[in-house]
Amino acid sequence: MLDTALTWNDLLFLGQGAAMTLAVTAVSVAAGTIMGIIFGVIRFQAGPIWSMPLMFFLDIFRSVPLLIQLVLGNALQSIAKLGWPPFTTSCVVLSLYTAAYCTEIVRGGIASVPVTTRRAGRSLGMTWGQDMRYIVAPLATRVSLPAWIGLTLGVMKDSALVLWLGLIELLRASQILVTRLQEPLFILLICGAIYFIISFPIARLGGYLERRWSPHD
């Protein structure tokens, strides 16, 4: 049998780390998606010129490495004396990071809806809101879903970087165990397995929804 000093207590500790990873991811993806939808619609409606300031702002979050964003975000909140705990700072930065990517996904989704279909809806007397809700939203969601699932999985793995702000998430929890037990390979193997266990259902859910929403393909 495998000879290890790892105890059930330590697995529980890893579990708590995984819960923190999930919490950060859930908050960031939820907030980031809502912001992404709003920004995406603005981006599409306002056109490339008027949405330039917004795009410039979001491009910062897409181009600067996440680790630097986190460290700078933490320094900013400290300079501004906001007194945010690391969890809040992490969620704010990760949400904006998610929103930056989600905006493009949403914009692409909206752009993929044929203009003719939308015009047909409007000529039937639908308002812009109705057109958005009943025509654009269902079609754009189908197109955007795979990219959004990819983004969610990406953010979950990227959330490991919040350990730099002192949050004990899954990766940090395994590092702590590695320091104490000196069994890096075995512990990181378990850590990887936990990441897989969390990610796999999300990936499968994406696949399931894709199949369900397009039965005739």
């Binding site: 105890t7 207590n9 330590d10 933490n74 002192g166 004990i168 702590i176 165990l177």
Partner: protein, 269 residues
């Protein structure tokens, strides 16, 4: 505007300004009910984690004592060595209780207290060698971890004595293994390392026989350098820890042996 309204306005302005004035960090900590300490947790016996992954060690106990004195709860924030000062600067912690040497370079960034702990150099000898003090090492075969401060000092000392032999080793564990096997008669290391190795039970026939007259590494608590109120409090707290015997008690609990003197002769502070 009549005189009364001027007066009222003045009072209101004074109240508003007074309210906006910055309460100092000592008040902030007491007000928040939590003391956040930066502690290094991969540096036993000062800081490490137990089997339940809870922080333990001298620094952890010291932070708990400090929180108790302030009447607040302690929160241990794990910081690796290079992250101690950044964690303070970014407001993640209130105080560093992290075995931080009080260098003048660091004092440009953060406010250092008086020393709360000292890493002394101790002589550990093989019981069969007959070494009972630092001077007894003259003419014997001694060794230490290559490149460390104590190894350099010991090698120079051996040259100055003009007899005996110095052997460098790659790691601290190698030194103690060689010592227990009798390849060397004695070694010099920090007292915490010496006591930890002797107590670990991995090596037999070894004992810590005395102090080496090398420079002591004094370590201090630190906080933001402009927080004089808090630094004053911390200085008094360190003084009280020694006065009440708590310092010796913690030293006995985590290191063992005689607790190092925290004063430097011939100078104030």
């Amino acid at each position: 505007m009549n005189k009364v309204s001027v007066l009222v306005f003045g009072l209101m302005a004074a109240t508003a300004l007074g309210g906006a004035a910055h309460a100092d960090k000592l008040d902030d900590i007491i007000g928040s009910g939590t003391l956040r300490c930066a502690v290094v947790l991969d540096f036993p016996p000062m800081g490490s984690r137990d089997a339940d992954n809870q922080p333990v060690g001298f620094d952890v106990d010291y932070c708990n004592d400090l929180a108790k004195a302030l009447g607040v709860t302690a929160e241990i924030v794990e910081t690796p060595f290079p992250e101690r000062i950044p964690a303070l600067m970014s407001g993640r912690v209130d105080v560093g209780v992290a075995s931080t040497s009080d260098t003048l370079e660091r004092a440009k960034t953060v406010g250092m207290t008086i020393p709360y702990f000292a890493f002394e150099m101790a002589v550990t000898a093989n019981d069969k060698s007959g070494v009972k003090s630092f001077e007894d090492m003259k003419g014997k075969v001694v060794g230490a971890t290559a490149g460390t401060y104590e190894a350099i000092a010991l090698e120079e000392q051996v040259k100055a004595w003009g007899e005996g032999e110095f052997r460098p080793y790659q790691t601290q564990a190698d030194v103690f293994l060689a010592l227990s096997q009798g390849q060397i008669d004695a070694t010099v290391s920090t007292s915490t390392v010496a006591q930890a190795n002797v107590k670990s039970g991995n090596f037999t026939g070894l004992s810590v026989v005395g102090k080496a007259p090398f420079d002591t590494d004094y370590v201090a608590l630190f906080t933001n350098r402009e927080e004089y109120g808090l630094i004053n409090y911390l200085n008094l707290f360190i003084n009280q820890q020694v006065r009440t015997g708590r310092y010796a008690e913690l030293y006995e609990k985590w290191v063992g042996g005689e607790a190092p003197d925290l004063t430097v002769g011939g100078v104030y502070r």
